[in-house]
Symmetry: C2
Subunit: 373 residues, 2 copies
């Protein structure tokens, strides 16, 4: 093997993530590495936490980035907040709901699964019914914005149902944070996790999480130790925690934190509501163009994610061939279908820095050309 | 709070990690993000794997970087290879041995602890005795290079003892990889993990791991599911695995992988043996200078790590004040003592790109000045 430095061809990233990264974020990423206990780094951590609280719209003290991708953020919520033997009502309407079930089962808890069709949101009535059948359920877990289908579920109403039944809520906001309305405190979300590489448009690898005071209370009152030492938030808190001395837990991914800080700063400077509106506006533009090309959406407009557009691959079209043309001729990445949508759908992302008019124009032009016989 | 872009003051990093990062690695880190399933990225992954095999001196097919820091690499080895109820002999001669005990206990296995004094290597006779008392132990776990004390243990002999007793070996090579001799295949190591931010001089956040065929066999024959979905190597393998199609597991930290690739390329270009020798040479220079300053080493020369020099803080010297002077006047970071060495020792790192003559010169000059009354 002849090894050389890697120089990737620049791409426009309009798949389900990673999304286009702003040059400002890449520039922050490559600033000189300093120590994870350096006073300058510690001061930056405080800013980063404050920016994360803004993005999540929360005052939760336990709000911090997990030093690993979104899947680890998911696991952080489950391993800290659920104990073996407990029941968790898990809503499944796509790939990431099934992953939640895996998480619940692997810690020795029981998943009560509420199934909805892929492409549909979580049905509130089914969740109420599940609670009536399992009044002892400790937690409700669901995906706010399903990355595999492009569907938005009603997080506010679902958390209300959890609260009405004395249960905690765990919410997957990997694809929603920064792209659509999400209000952790107003909606009474107890635990939420996201990913750096979707609508925050940071590089992949970090998972912001936030726990409500009620969730922290549950963590502190555990009868058993958190099964994962690495993800044990009662320990990590002493490094990311509020006051004074920072206790070493693990070596933070210093440069990735610079990048996350910069991407959150971009969001703060734009304003959260403005970012939500921009995603909507670009989605409208994309929708118009796709409709003109005769391409249909899988998800009904009422619960369609603006930042992740799942569309039917037109009859007679070769999935891989078209995506290959987009990538090779236009350096444009769109997403393949996942799970039951593999080979049947494309996922066109308009996430964060990728939700720009020039991207929509490129995508429509490139698709039109790639679909032409 | 007034938020602004973060511009860290460049530091010279001579603590226990992160170590100085080469400009080549920072440059690779900030190249354009592409998709984690992009054919160009997949080709780079193959090179990265081959380079990792070289660094570890192994032909193990399951050799890959875990998308999280070294602590997650440790956890990867334990959660995949140990089942609840099994016995693991864990050698403790510093902080990271105690962390291994935590890992073993949190998965419901039993740790048989072999204690050695901090600052001493693992005693082979004690390990043999532990096996004679616990012939059913499934595994021997130990730290090759203790980051908390600067001690090297005899990994080759310890793995031989494990093999003689029909047990697997799990080896912490976080601080040893790239800095001192480590030969995974020749020494018969079954599972090994490291960190990106020590002698590889990459940015922190990634943990290379390697499992022997015997370890993979144990993983495949498990009676219970791996408790962590995120770290389940039987799933991750399908993304990093050898042949053909890559199955999505989690979104790889794309840019961090560019950086790790570049740091491993630097190691390959220098040559592993040359890198080991460079660490020795720079250690000799540092030792000479420290001795002239009247500073004494904690660890005996016979098992002292060249890349991590644990020295006694001279009597009457204020630990924090001196480290503060080094940081503020010279932008030089050295490490505080950890665990029982807190306030009593400094840890001076010469890791990877930091093991250069100009760093040694700076460190000695700065220390001399900071210690002067």
């Amino acid at each position: 093997m002849n090894f050389t430095s890697f120089h990737p061809t620049p791409r426009t990233l309009m798949g389900p993530g990673p999304s286009d990264v702003s040059p400002r974020v890449l520039s922050a990423l490559s600033r000189p590495t300093i120590g994870h206990l350096d006073p300058e780094f510690v001061a930056m951590m405080d800013e980063l936490k404050a920016l994360l609280k803004y993005a999540f719209q929360t005052e939760n003290e336990l709000t911090m980035p997990v030093s690993a991708p979104g899947s680890a953020g998911m696991e952080t919520c489950f391993v800290n907040l659920i104990e073996p033997g407990e029941k968790v009502i898990v809503c499944v309407n796509g790939v990431f709901g099934t992953r939640m079930v895996e998480n619940v089962e692997r810690i020795g808890a029981t998943a009560i699964v509420v199934n909805d069709d892929w492409g549909k949101p979580v049905d509130l009535e089914k969740v109420k019914k599940a609670f009536s059948e399992h009044p002892d359920a400790a937690c409700l877990a669901f995906v706010h914005a399903e990355t595999s289908t492009g569907v938005l579920s009603d997080a506010k109403a679902l958390c209300q149902i959890a609260r009405d039944n004395g249960a905690l809520s765990i919410v997957d906001a990997v694809t929603s944070l920064g792209g659509v309305e999400l209000r952790v405190d107003d909606w009474g979300i107890d635990a939420v996790y996201s990913g750096s590489q979707k609508c925050l448009s940071c590089v992949p690898g970090i998972s912001p999480v936030s726990f409500s005071p009620k969730a922290v209370e549950k963590l502190k009152g555990r009868k058993t130790k958190v099964p994962s030492w690495f993800l044990d938030q009662s320990l990590v808190m002493n490094y990311w925690g509020g006051e004074g001395k920072r206790t070493y837990h693990h070596t933070a991914p210093v440069n990735a934190m610079y990048a996350l800080h910069e991407s959150l700063l971009l969001l703060k400077q734009e304003g959260l509501e403005n970012a939500w509106q921009r995603h909507k506006d670009q989605h409208e533009l994309l929708k118009k163009g796709l409709t003109e090309l005769g391409i249909e959406f899988i998800v009904d407009e009422a619960y369609r994610l603006p930042q992740l557009n799942t569309v039917v691959i037109p009859a007679g079209v070769d999935d891989a061939e078209v995506r290959g043309k987009l990538l090779n001729n236009y350096n444009l990445e769109i997403g393949a279908g996942l799970g039951i949508f593999a080979g049947k759908a494309w996922r066109i992302g308009l996430m964060g820095y990728a939700a720009r008019e020039e991207n929509v124009a490129l995508c429509l032009t490139a698709l039109k050309s790639a679909l032409a016989k």
